[in-house]
Each structure stands twice: as C-alpha cells, then as structure tokens.
Symmetry: C2
Subunit: 192 residues, 2 copies
Amino acid sequence: MARWEPDARGRLRRAALDLYDERGFEETTVQDIADRAGVTERTFFRHFADKREVLFDGSGQLEEAIVSAVRASTADDALTMALDGVAGSAGFFDGRMEWATRRARIIDAHPALRERELLKLSTLSAAIAETLRGRDVSDAEASLVADVAVALFRGAFQRWIGGGGADFAACLRSTLDDFDVLARSSGVRSAE
Amino acid sequence: MARWEPDARGRLRRAALDLYDERGFEETTVQDIADRAGVTERTFFRHFADKREVLFDGSGQLEEAIVSAVRASTADDALTMALDGVAGSAGFFDGRMEWATRRARIIDAHPALRERELLKLSTLSAAIAETLRGRDVSDAEASLVADVAVALFRGAFQRWIGGGGADFAACLRSTLDDFDVLARSSGVRSAE
DNA sequence: TCCGGTGATGACAGTTGCTGTCATCGCGTG
DNA sequence: CACGCGATGACAGCAACTGTCATCACCGGA
C-alpha cells in the first residue's frame, strides 16, 4: 500500500462528474476537482489530457468492445457486421444508467463538451470502418456503413436515457425497427 | 474614414490562415495573429470567440445558403429537398478553391480543429432537420435525412478538394452517383 | 456650430487551463 | 542495503480568454 490513497483516477472522475453536475462545467475549476479528490491540480492533468476528457474516460473501452464484436461477427454483409458491433456494446452500460444520464445532461448543456463527444463518435466510426475494411469491405462502403451504425448507436442511446428503464439491447432493437420503417417510407427499402 | 484601418476582421482572418499554415496552429499565438493584422489581441477576441473560430467565419453564411435552398426546394420528398439544399451551397465555394484547400489541410492536422468542424456540421445538420420539419417531415425522418445530406456534402467536398479542378456541383453529382451504387450494393435500393 | 451618443479600438489587470521540471517518497528487486 | 521505478507534490511559467475603463473618430440633432 502506497503512502498516498490509491485510485486517484477514479476519485478524480467522480469528483469531476459531481462538481460539473452541482455547479456547472464552466463554473468548476480543475483546482476544485483536485481538491475534492485530495490530490493536486498537476495530478489531474497526469490522468486526463484536459478538463473535458475526464468525462470520456470509458470511451476507449467502449470502442474496443464494439470493434471486437465487429471482428467476431459471423454476418456476411457490412451493415449487419457493424450492427453486431453496436450490439456488442450493450454490456458496457449495465448498471450505469444513472451515471450515463447525469453525464449526458452535462454534455448536452455545453458546446465544448458536445465537441468532444462528436470527436469521440467520429473516432469510433473510423475504427469501425477500419475493421470493416479488414473484413474485405470496400473503402467507401465501410465509411458509410460505419456512420450509419454510429447514428443508430446514438439513437439507441437516446432512447435508453430517455425511456423508462428498458435495457440497452431492447432500445437498440426498437431503434433498428424504426430505422427499417423509416427507410421504407423514405424511398429506400431494405433488401430481403 | 476612421482613424483605424477598416476590415480588421478580414485582416485577422487572413493573418490567422497564413500563420496557421506557415508555423502550425499550436505554434501560433493569438498575439502573433493580432500583430500581423495590426491590431491588439483584445480586438481579435472581439471578432472571434476563440482561436479556432477564426477558421470557421463563413459557416453561418454557408448554413444560411443551404437552409434557404431547402426552403425553396420544389421536391416532394425529404431526401430530395435536403439534397437540393446541399446543391444550393455550390456557389459558396466559387473561386475559393485555394482557400478551402489550405484551410482543410490545417483542420485535418489538428484534433482541436476537427472538433470544431464536427460541431459546425452537427449544427448544420440540425438546421436542415429543423427546416425539413417546417415542411411537414416527421421528426425522426428529418434528422436521419439531414445527417445523410451532410454526409454527402462532406463527400462532395472531399472530392472537390482532392480532385483535379472540377467544380463543386460536378463533385456533388459524382458523389450522389456513388451513393446510389453503394446503396444498391449495401442491401438497400433506391426507389424508382 | 457645437454636443452628446455610438461603435470600434487600445490598455491593462486578472483568472484559468495546461506544461515543464525537479524533488520526494514508498515499494519491489537484486 | 542500495538502486531504480512509479506516482505524486511543489513551483514557475506561458498562453487563452475576460472584464473594465479610456480614447477617438464619426454622426445626427439642437
């Protein structure tokens, strides 16, 4: 056991979420977060690249889970592979409903945080596309399909946050159903 | 005539682009830009919200042009209206090829700038969606169609930048053709 | 003609995000 | 017991951004 308390990173994550929630993102200084976590400001920046990144600490794992699921998919068309990937993220949110809700509310309220989220989603889309290319999908199709998959992921996430406690997998299924209906009514039609 | 030189905003815009190009974005300080433009740092921040925004000065006009074109479209389905909107942006880039190329190179090289670009595109998509809703398109379809239109806009822009001098409208047509081909091969098929 | 309002700017101090650097301290290893 | 390693503290410093007040040309009305 070290002389300093372990899990400084986790304490910083929790302190940041709480403070952003209580006072607002701009009204919270990194010094405030560090104080509440019992470390110095410098230690905050050793764990997180900047003041926003602390809210996106799990994004690497999420991306890894999705990419693995794409790689493991037994489907033989690109869209289904990508959707299998998104489905592979369901476990990531188990028991994190309250955390995800508070986090989403904070992010939506601040353009600076929305920027960062868009960048993460863009990175995720690129990672999915790259994985699809590794499975013999053409460049253009890989990008397009990855974008669609991420859009559906966002839709499912929104539904999960806003809905009445259904689990993420169910929300994803509903979102896919709506997508099918919409695609038909929009002048494109799903293949058999 | 004022005692100060007019068009400080334009000089700042040009100075910033030149300096970001010559030295790189992070290596350029706002003081550098202000010096070259012959104003103070404070004046820079009166014209632009932050160091990144100076590269996105035209985005409001672009959005306005696209939204107007959506409003003016005589099409009767949402996707065609949105694509008419994107087509309405063609004139915006006339004679700005070199500017757009340098700007795109700078933005692609810096995550902080890519973030801002993603936010602008997200805002654009929201504006298109809102306009479609005003033309009796359902909520969900408006968002989806707007996202697709923005994706195609990005594709056309990429082609215009990378291609050999074709005009933007031609690039947009090629991108739409590819999209049709891709949609057919991806398991969806365009309606007649 | 003078006079007050307006709009763009300069000057300057202050806060905060973020970085570089060096010292410290406990822990494991040989 | 010495040594290196990893996580942290301490501190100086730069650059982004903001608030505030003064200045000065211009413009419209009395």
